[in-house]
């Protein structure tokens, strides 16, 4: 327990398959926080694999997603979208649409949400309607009784466009004489729904940047000097494609405007961010808005705000005095649902002969369409110790749909470049890639840099054993046409914590235990994790806990992005459960004539001292409550010991989450087809709560990474500005036949920073995969793939170029 200064001794360090490295540290723990938990091995429910509580609903089709919401009198909406990539809307004629007998409401969009904005709007000739800057940009929406009616009515809206010159190609857009997406400098302010770019960045034409000061701080040292000191320099240019999120449930809402309260069922990663943005747009007090997300069919970073579609749906509902369903279709989802920007990265790394890095210089540009967010430098900035680092990132605007945060923004791109350059450096130095990383992946906290190197060192060690890394041969050793290769790459991510994370725990006299929070389960299994945390505190099983989430009527929940949900919300749940436990035991002790300290909760019973485990069943004890229910609501406290310094506006915890992934591939040098045979992934995410769900999420990160590496590529027609593959036939996403054997190893990493000490896994699981594959392809063929996706055509081209070069 805490001493008089609130200092508590906690165990920190690693527990890994086959061992542990732990030490005790002192942490200042606020007096209203429960005592730190021991290691998972000493807990009964937390850290154990549990099937998710909502599994039966999902496998029977009973889970209700936003797409499934059916309200009485519900109307169906469709959005009228621009067929032009750049245009001025001269007139919108809705009379014919309004006259259609099935039409119930028509609304023309007044303001575009999302993407960049002109710093000075006067630089553009005034326009009654928002300027169109990409094909598919929403113009207006209509609502009708049935989907078929809506389809008909939508066609009756007449829009006159003055078509303007446009550009969709990244390199074309960089030219000084390229058509301007925006006629002047831009800003991208953050909204409740996310976004936000570094302000006051210079802009030339469509190129906004370079930014040298990202959210992770200014340049370090002097790269020129660093390269002078270098004994070896490795340099290459890497390219990555635009990837769409492709969540299976599209963006959408069912909006139900009533004078007393606006209810919006939303497919979102943030019930609270949607509510806050609705309050912003419609000038409503937050208390008059309710956002509900019972089940959610995937978001991957793209679903935080209300979006233009949501604003339109609410307007339509208000006008028609009826609930309105507006779900994007698959084509709209590809075009409007957000995307991971492309990147071109020129990366130069200098090192001494012993491997120590002297300089890292990255110049990158990419396009997020009409939005910023194409930076790719965080991995280069944060992964390895280096005294001289310069990152120069630019956004290039094109007439294409706006980017959105996508699972570890910038990181899979950055890792693809950096981890290949490190691989090449190791080869040039005659070092094993793991040995080089042992040398340069060291904690060196320069102003809040995340420190997680001890975990990765262990991950390299146990991963290489599991993977049998020692069998790796020199690059291009195989003689036959199908060549086998092994590669490795590392992941870093950050401990983002959201203090707007609260839970209410209720114990009822019949023994019912409920936990309530606005936090939404986007498929990660937070419902089950919350049940585990509360069950652990009360000596119950997860199935004994009723979890109600995804409704802003409940205490504030954290938006699920940046791998911050578990680390933010589980401490709130534990704190609330601990308070309920305290008051429960006080009530029960009084009725038993015992002291509360003599009681404990274990195995579904209230135990008195050392009575041999007989005790009273939990339910019978609950019947002794003095009142019908005990309720406690608690929030996430600051990290014990505080957050990382030098990160204004972001609650970034000290330490980080990362991992190491090993990939084995075969490359058919006659067809160019890369087949991923096996991936061994070793990850850390603080204290694991549910290893079963964690394994699923890591599998998912790897498979999305393979899909990104080998298949996914949004293709725009540069003459028409139209996406050519807004579907799942030509936008290829990994399928069952491309799934390799995956082995997941999980470290328990105790940091002693909160009452659960848990963290997240969503982003770190997908960061290194493409890079690990590329390094494996190099090991197989001796040829470096510098462009994603690594399609058969690109593989054959690279092999041919290498043969030509060798002649």
């Amino acid at each position: 327990m805490a001493d008089e200064n609130g200092k508590v001794a906690v165990q920190t360090g690693l527990v890994f398959p086959g061992g542990s490295s732990l030490s005790e540290v002192e942490r200042a723990v606020p007096s209203d926080e429960p005592p730190p938990w021991p290691l998972n091995a000493e807990l009964s429910v937390v850290g154990k694999p549990f099937p998710r509580l909502d599994g039966p609903l999902k496998v029977t089709g009973a889970a209700t997603y936003t797409a499934d919401v059916r309200l009485p009198g519900m109307l169906h909406a469709r959005v009228i979208r621009s067929p032009h990539p750049h245009a001025r809307v001269k007139n919108i004629d809705v009379t014919a649409a309004e006259r259609h007998p099935a039409a119930r409401a028509v609304h023309v969009l007044e303001h575009m949400r999302g993407g960049a904005k002109l710093r000075d709007p006067k630089q553009e000739t005034p326009s009654k309607f928002p300027i169109v800057r990409y094909v598919g940009q929403p113009i207006a929406a209509i609502a009708a009784a049935t989907p078929a009616d809506a389809e008909e009515v939508m066609r009756l809206v007449k829009v006159d466009y003055e078509v303007l010159p446009f550009v969709v190609d990244l390199e074309e857009a960089r030219k000084p004489d390229a058509p301007r997406v925006f006629p002047g400098a831009t800003e991208q302010p953050a909204t409740a729904g996310g976004g936000g770019a570094v302000p006051n960045v210079p802009q030339q034409g469509n190129v906004r940047g370079p930014t040298k000061t990202g959210p992770l701080g200014p340049p370090r040292g002097d790269v020129e000097k660093g390269f002078e000191e270098a004994e070896i320099t490795v340099e290459n240019t890497f390219r990555t494609a635009v990837q769409t999120h492709s969540a299976l449930e599209t963006h959408g809402v069912v909006a139900d405007w009533k004078p007393e309260v606006l209810t919006v069922y939303a497919s979102t990663q943030g019930t609270s961010t949607v509510r806050d943005e609705l309050a912003e747009v419609f000038g409503l007090p937050k208390g008059k808005i309710r956002v509900v997300t019972e089940f959610m069919g995937g978001g991957f970073g793209s679903k935080f705000g209300i979006g233009n579609f949501g604003v339109l749906a609410v307007h339509l509902s208000k006008k028609a005095s009826a609930p309105v369903r507006l779900m994007l279709d698959r084509k709209e989802e590809h075009v409007n649902g957000g995307n991971r920007p492309s990147s071109v990265q020129r990366l130069r790394v200098g090192a001494k002969k012993d491997g120590s890095l002297t300089a890292i210089h990255l110049t990158s540009w990419g396009t997020g369409g009409t939005a910023t967010g194409a930076g790719a430098g965080n991995v280069a900035k944060n992964m390895y110790a280096c005294p001289n680092i310069l990152i120069e990132e630019s956004d290039v605007f094109t007439n294409a749909g706006p980017a959105a945060a996508f699972r570890a923004p910038g990181h899979p791109q950055g890792a693809f470049a950096l981890e290949q350059v490190i691989d090449e450096l190791a080869e040039k130095l005659g070092m094993d890639p793991l040995a080089l990383r042992d040398k340069i992946d060291i904690d060196e906290d320069l102003g809040g840099r995340n420190v997680d190197s001890a975990a990765r060192r262990m991950e390299r060690k146990i991963g290489s054993q599991k993977f049998d890394w020692a069998r790796r041969k020199p690059a291009g050793s195989d003689r036959g046409p199908v060549k086998r290769g092994l590669g490795v790459a590392q992941s870093i991510w950050y401990r983002f914590i959201d203090l707007d994370a609260s839970c209410e725990v209720r114990l009822l006299r019949d023994g019912t235990v409920e936990v309530l929070s606005a936090v939404q389960d986007i498929g990660t299994g937070i419902r089950t994790a919350l049940a585990q945390v509360v069950a652990e505190e009360l000596g119950l099983q997860p199935k004994d806990i009723t979890v109600r989430v995804g409704d802003t009527a409940f205490p504030a929940g954290v938006p699920s992005g940046g791998s911050r949900t578990t680390g933010s919300i589980t401490p709130a749940a534990r704190n609330a459960a601990h308070e309920v436990r305290r008051r429960f035991l006080a009530d029960v002790a009084a009725s038993m004539g015992a002291r509360p300290e003599a009681l404990s909760l274990k195995g579904g019973k209230v135990l008195l001292g050392d009575d041999g485990g007989r005790g009273i069943p939990f339910r019978s004890a609950a019947a002794k409550l003095k009142t019908e229910q005990i309720t406690a609501s608690r929030s996430r406290a600051h990290d014990y010991g505080g957050f990382a310094p030098g990160r204004p506006g972001m609650n970034m915890g000290i330490g980080g989450f990362g991992g190491v992934q090993f990939a084995e591939v075969t490359v058919d040098t006659e067809t160019g087809i890369i087949k991923v045979e096996r991936v061994v992934a070793v990850h850390d995410c603080g204290r694991p709560i549910n290893p079963l769900a964690l394994e699923s999420q890591i599998n998912g990160g790897i498979l999305q990474g393979i899909s990104y590496a080998l298949y996914e590529n949004r293709v725009l027609d540069r003459r028409a500005g139209v996406q050519l593959n807004p579907n799942f036939e030509q936008y290829k996403v990994l399928g069952a036949r491309e799934v390799p054997a995956i082995e997941v190893l999980l470290l328990e990493e105790y940091q002693g920073r909160s009452s659960t000490d848990a963290g997240g896994i969503g982003e770190p699981a997908t960061v290194p995969t493409a890079a690990a594959l590329a390094n494996a392809v190099y090991n197989a063929t001796g040829v470096r793939m510098t462009e994603l996706p690594m399609t058969p055509a690109r593989v054959l081209t690279a092999l041919a170029a290498a043969r030509k070069g060798a002649q």
Partner: protein
């Protein structure tokens, strides 16, 4: 392997059907295929569900699409009776309505998901006479007189189908949006092949898109259900 194996198989299957084509022909530009729209929809509804399923269901596909002669229905609302999960359901629908629309909108059975709405992802998989099809590529009218089984009808008397049970235990659902379609594909596999190999499961789910990357657990769960001997014994109503 991969990058395009499935597409080849799909194309092959279309060509095979082409041989017994009747009705009004449409020449597709750039292709040697001649298909009626009706036949095209009926055919793709089946092929997209999975390639392996093809062998199991080809006769049913031809019979279903071609058996009604020159009967004309619509374009307005037409009353039809569908057999859904063993129950007769009479609905009034436009002939253009897909089975997925009718299930979800008219019958309120939203377990069946629509994701791509064009037969590319198998999220909408239901069974027609025990054979998985994409309900987004099947006209509701073509399902008249056939036993329709949806994910809601797979469990019986409150007990989960062994595949559903194994999905829960092995964590074979993350966001869960692809799950109903996955379950229907995997349960159908065990129905026709009670002892599948890993490759069989991959093939059976090769048309089912999952964005969360739950495939390894889907494979695990389906093989576990097979080991437990679910076979075809489970009582899916109406199949």
């Amino acid at each position: 392997m991969s990058n395009d194996g499935q597409n080849h198989a799909d194309r092959r299957s279309l060509r095979e059907k082409d041989d017994d084509e009747d009705g009004s022909d449409v020449a597709l530009p750039g292709a040697s295929l001649r298909l009626s729209r009706r036949r095209f929809l009926a055919g793709t509804g089946l092929t997209a569900a999975t390639t392996a399923v093809l062998e199991a269901c080809k006769p049913a596909a031809v019979g279903g699409a071609g058996g009604k002669g020159a009967e004309v229905a619509g374009p307005g609302q037409v009353p039809v009776t569908l057999q859904v999960n063993g129950k007769e359901r009479t609905v009034s629908l436009e002939p253009r309505a897909t089975l997925a629309e009718v299930l979800r909108t008219d019958l309120g059975m939203t377990g069946t998901k629509v994701v791509c709405d064009r037969g590319a992802c198998s999220a909408c998989t239901v069974w027609l006479d025990g054979t998985p099809v994409c309900s987004c590529m099947t006209f509701a009218m073509d399902a008249v007189g056939r036993a329709i089984t949806t994910v809601e009808g797979l469990s019986s008397g409150g007990a989960l189908h062994p595949v559903q049970q194994a999905f829960v235990e092995h964590d074979a659902a993350q966001c869960g949006f692809c799950t109903p379609g996955m379950v229907m594909s995997c349960a159908a596999l065990l129905q026709r092949n009670p002892r599948p190999t890993l490759d069989d499961v991959r093939t059976a789910t090769s048309g089912n898109l999952c964005r969360c990357g739950t495939y390894p657990k889907v494979f695990e769960a389906t093989l576990a259900a097979a080991r437990r001997g679910s076979g075809g014994s489970s009582g899916a109503k109406g199949s």
